[in-house]
Amino acid sequence: MIILRRQVPLLITLITGLVFAAQYYVPHPASEQMLTSVTKWLQIIGGFALVLGVSSLFHVHAVKIRRKEAGWGYSFVLYVSMLGTIAVGLWSNGKEAVDGTMTAFGWIYNFMMVPLQGTMFAILAFFIASAAYRSFRARSREAAVLLIAAVIVMMGRVPLGEYLIPISGDLSQWILNVLNASVRRAILIGVSLGTVALSIKIIFGMERSYLGGGKE
């Protein structure tokens, strides 16, 4: 049994990993066909993965409601809104609009989800401002360089900045295009080496944390 639980998954990873790495170098239609079907499979499996993510949320809040923990009322709100959305969504066939006319599902989307999600991130604007005032200090030479670069880019990216200090536009262009691009490129190369190393380790079974959960 231990083979079924331990070795077989590693073997699956090894074979699929090698096959799909090699596929890249093989232009033959047979290999392309294989890529087509497996990517389609991945799309379908991706759907199941979403279920996996969502279900832990279900579980956590169900426990809260059952035990009547502090703030269980909010969990109840969460449940009702979720089930309500699902019911309305299925009733509308999963479409927000049919030929340009908004459905009930579309209403929930447009007037609840869009403003809620948008505002959640919009409050960050205020926090950035408060952080700018309270913590962005030139504590060291590095921090000073960072702040100066930030101020230039902030100036150069808005019309008023370019109007007040005309050179700021070109300067921020140069910072982004040359200085920033070179750093990002180095980071990209470093991260890519890391990604390739990790992928190789996964394929050859030296990195197994993704197998996670479930007792041996």
Binding site: M112, A186, I189, V191
Partner: protein, 249 residues
């Protein structure tokens, strides 16, 4: 104005203001809106997944075109769900092994091609340019990213930052200078990112306020103004009650 849009405007305005109330302090209105948000977005995802995966990608191709091979990914997906059955949880490893295996395999050659080779290719440029009529020249134009001067700056930036992330070499002697240069380049890039992020966050705020301004129109019944008053009132009342409570205790 259709009635569903007017109701929608009121709901959207209310929820927006509830979340903004967090700026004053954490309060029940914010928590209500927040949990509503999680619930609605999860519900939305479930509906969309059902509609796309189950209906469009699985059910229809099987029933209409007889693509029975699609049952294989369904089986693999189902294996993932065994995570919840403690005794069969190990079966879910097969599914993860497949996904992670394919993903790693796909990633290796593509990462090398797009992020290593392409980036090297563009960094390696001649330091002198052949200008017709002038012969070999060292171009100094800062605004042209392809000029010789910028080529050198990019080369220095890439090399020093790469060197900064060397861990099996001590940063001493000339290495220290290179690493310090790398740090300075990093800080400039972070500064640029910082400036851009400020822009992004402010844009979000502008977007929300634009909606609120739109909804303060009389054709919607001015929900922005009414609900703003209501939210402030609620916050004041709650602050009062919070102040009275400790006195009672």
């Amino acid at each position: 104005m259709p009635i569903d849009v007017i109701i929608g405007a009121w709901v959207a305005t209310g929820l927006t203001l509830f979340i903004f109330s967090f700026l004053y302090q954490d309060n029940p209105l914010f928590k209500l809106a927040e949990n509503l948000y999680v619930g609605v977005s999860v519900g939305y995802t479930i509906v969309k997944t059902y509609d796309t995966v189950v209906v469009q990608l699985v059910w229809k191709p099987i029933v209409e075109n007889g693509e029975w091979a699609l049952l294989i990914p369904v089986a693999i997906g189902a294996l993932m769900l065994t995570r919840y059955v403690p005794k069969a949880a190990w079966l879910s490893r097969y599914a993860f092994a497949f996904i992670v295996g394919v993903g790693s395999g796909l990633a290796i050659p593509r990462t090398i091609s797009s992020f290593i080779l392409k980036q090297i290719e563009d960094t390696v440029r001649p330091l002198l340019v052949m200008v017709p009529g002038e012969g070999l020249t060292f171009t100094m134009d800062l605004l042209n990213p392809a000029s010789s001067l910028n080529t050198i700056i990019i080369l220095i930036g890439v090399s020093s930052v790469l060197f900064y992330f060397f861990f099996s070499v001590e940063h001493t002697g000339p290495g220290k200078v290179v690493a310090r240069t790398g740090i300075m380049f990093l800080m400039i890039a972070f500064g640029a990112a910082f400036g851009y992020t400020v822009m992004a966050r402010m844009s979000l705020l502008i977007g929300r306020l634009t909606d609120l301004i739109e909804f303060s129109d009389s054709s919607y019944g001015r929900p922005s103004l009414w609900l703003l008053g209501l939210t402030i009132l609620t916050l004041v009342v709650m602050a009062r009650r919070a102040r009275i409570k400790p006195e009672e205790e």
